[in-house]
């Protein structure tokens, strides 16, 4: 869950965190794509999808929505007291995933490749490191063929360049965009799942190490220069534009 930028972001009274008074967290867009990619894979290859989330406000709605979309299980890691940093989130999720991996229940772990409060996109790599699995980020497609021990992963680079990677499963993927936009699920279906579906709750393990990073200060960007509005008749404007361009040696 990430801050919803529909509301204006304000720095809180401590000067180093967001003011959450009017914030209703929203599921990160990339995570929605990660779920969609998982559901597409299930539709194509069979298997099952488990959606996992750390406890936070409104997260039950998100998990019920995931169940309504086609996720088979929903697991909530409860006992998370303050919004965790990315490293802490990985530390909370890894033991639960470890348990599932040991039972050979997991072939693929997908997460958003970044979030508006994790632009570095470190959750996937942190998880992979803790679980001893390979990681690929900025993923835009996954193909699992006859050899179920491997997958072909499409990864995007700048400038319209794509690459295909072969990867041994299980693996962790950071999804940038699913092969199709995330699906819509009618509210009636979500409401039905709220009655019949179940969210499994597991307790968060105690953190194994304190975060090595500390937020020192949070500020809004400071305005630098402003755009200059050129006024006048079209002819006057055109003449001023040519003057400016010639002054800069562009004409």
């Amino acid at each position: 869950m990430v801050p919803d930028i529909v509301e204006e972001l304000e720095v809180g009274p401590d000067g180093k965190s967001l003011d959450l008074e009017f914030q209703r967290p929203i599921v990160s867009e990339r995570d929605e794509h990660a779920l969609e990619q998982a559901l597409l894979l299930k539709e194509r290859c069979g298997g099952s999808v488990t959606t996992m989330a750390l406890e936070s406000a409104d997260v039950d709605d998100v998990l019920f929505t995931a169940l309504a979309k086609g996720s088979d299980r929903a697991v909530k890691v409860a006992g998370v007291e303050t919004p965790p940093t990315t490293a802490e989130a990985a530390a909370l999720l890894a033991p639960v995933l470890r348990g599932l991996l040991d039972q050979k229940q997991v072939d693929l772990i997908v997460t958003g490749c970044s979030a508006i409060d994790d632009l570095d996109g470190l959750l996937g790599p942190f998880l992979a490191e803790r679980l001893g699995l390979p990681y690929l980020g900025i993923v835009t497609g996954v193909v699992v063929g006859a050899d179920s021990g491997r997958a072909t992963v499409l990864k995007e680079y700048a400038g319209g360049v794509h690459a295909e990677y072969g990867i041994a499963l299980p693996a962790v993927l950071g999804v940038q965009a699913a092969e199709k936009p995330p699906r819509y699920v009618p509210v009636a279906k979500v409401r039905a799942v709220m009655k019949s579906g179940k969210i499994e709750t597991v307790s968060a393990a105690a953190p194994d190490q304190a975060s090595l990073l500390q937020v020192v200060r949070m500020t809004k960007p400071e305005a630098a220069g402003h755009a200059e509005m050129i006024e006048g008749s079209p002819e006057e404007i055109a003449s001023k534009v040519t003057d400016i361009l010639s002054a800069r040696g562009l004409l």
């Binding site: 529909v6 509301e7 204006e8 009017f22 929203i26 409104d58 709605d61 998100v62 019920f64 929505t65 199709k180 936009p181 699906r183 819509y184 009618p186 509210v187 009636a188 279906k189 979500v190 409401r191 709220m194 009655k195």
Partner: protein, 402 residues
């Protein structure tokens, strides 16, 4: 998201597509004479695989699944034309089509992106444009008259003005809001709004087939409305009016409801002496589908317009029961891209051509969807220098003078 788990509207009616012929209103469908007037009058009849006549025929033949698997019901803008013209008086738009659209919506392999976004926004933010709910009363700061927000001042009030989304958030809708506030003030009406507590009334979600979303919104709005004492609800939204009159009572709402146009028309004698500024406008009035064909309010907006000094009212060939839909109902507001991709004409374009041909300089409307739809069409067709679009209440407020 605040989803709740109570159920009412559909179960209260108790009618489904499966048992439709067992209910009195549904049983009437058996008497359809397959004359085809519905298909002929449907503005998109020629681009639907299954226009209303065929939907009834297929339903009677037990072949409704074929209809539901097509995109015909996505092309229905719930304009009430088929129902208004049916010689057997069959309940097409208010009984059959919502049920069929609900089932078709569930079966959609992919909800068109624009519609999906609007519905998801409505669930999360209570408005289809995805604006912050906290800014729902932001327009009031520039209203020029005091606007009471009930959460800040919860004293009982005569008129609870349910502003609705396009009025509260769209820049042109906000002009309508400020005009409405001025006219209410001029009439000395005790009024207040819900502000950030108000959610979309949800009529278009329901008529797009998203019944669950409609029920969630109904629950949320009724819970908020239940906190305050008021004598009547007046809304700027034509579609909200429709929902409050026909659907909300099933969930327990029991206050008198009026649309701003009919509310002001009912107070015309008090209003007339206040309309002192002469406006030299030639105006043509577009009948909203829900206010006109569904609720029969054809004359009220015309009485208001005729009461304004200097206003000359001219009619389009398609007026009153024959009015051409703007294309915004039943989810059509967020299907322009889909319709365009399917090569369908934008209905607002069709309507605006007719409006311009009357020679009028103002196209008057009473539904907040129409302002942006018709203004877009005027620009696209190159008529934006010839004609402007104004809500009837905006013209009233202008005539108030200073």
């Amino acid at each position: 998201m605040a989803l709740t788990t109570t159920e009412h509207a559909d179960s209260a009616a108790g009618i489904t597509l499966e048992n439709i012929f067992e209910s009195p209103r549904g049983r009437d469908l058996q008497t359809c004479i397959q004359c085809g007037i519905c298909a002929g009058t449907c503005p998109y009849g020629e681009v639907m695989d299954y226009p209303p006549r065929r939907i009834i025929g297929m339903l009677r033949a037990g072949m409704i699944e074929e209809v539901l698997a097509s995109d015909s019901l996505l092309r229905c803008v719930t304009c009430y034309a088929c129902m208004a013209k049916c010689p057997r008086g069959l309940r097409l738009t208010d009984v059959l089509l919502p049920l069929a659209k609900e089932q078709a919506f569930i079966r959609l392999p992919e909800v068109p992106a624009e519609l999906q976004k609007a519905l998801a926004n409505t669930l999360r933010y209570g408005n289809p444009m995805g604006e912050s709910p906290r800014k729902r009363a932001a327009w009031a700061a520039a209203a020029g008259v005091p606007v009471r927000v009930l959460s800040q001042d919860p004293r009982p009030v005569d008129v609870l003005w349910f502003v609705e989304c396009y009025t509260a958030f769209h820049p042109r809708g906000q002009d309508n809001c400020r005009a409405t506030a001025r006219v209410l003030k001029a009439l000395g009406i005790d009024f207040a709004i819900l502000g950030p507590e108000e959610k979309c009334a949800g009529e278009c979600a329901r008529m797009a087939g998203e019944t669950g979303l409609f029920e969630t919104l109904t629950d949320q709005n009724l819970k908020v409305l239940g906190k305050y004492q008021f004598n009547r609800l007046v809304t700027s939204g034509a579609h909200a009016y429709d929902a409050f009159v026909h659907e909300y009572p099933r969930a327990g709402f029991d206050h008198p409801v009026e649309h701003t146009t009919t509310y002001f028309a009912g107070r015309l004698e008090a209003l007339k002496p206040l309309l002192t500024k002469k406006l030299n406008y030639t105006v043509t009035y577009h009948d909203s589908c829900v206010l006109g064909r569904h609720n029969g309010f054809y004359e009220e907006p015309r009485h208001l317009l005729k009461a304004i000094p200097g206003v000359k009212l001219v009619e389009m060939p398609h007026n009153r029961i024959n009015s051409i839909c703007c294309g915004g109902g039943g989810g059509g507001m967020w299907l322009d891209t889909y319709y365009k991709a399917k090569g369908m004409e934008r209905l607002a374009d069709r309507r605006v051509r007719e409006a311009v041909a009357t020679g009028a300089d103002v196209l008057a409307v009473s539904c907040p969807y129409e302002v942006s739809r018709f203004e877009d069409s005027l620009k696209v067709l190159g008529y934006d220098k010839k004609m402007v679009v104004r809500d009837v209440v905006e013209i009233l407020a202008e005539a108030l003078g200073d």
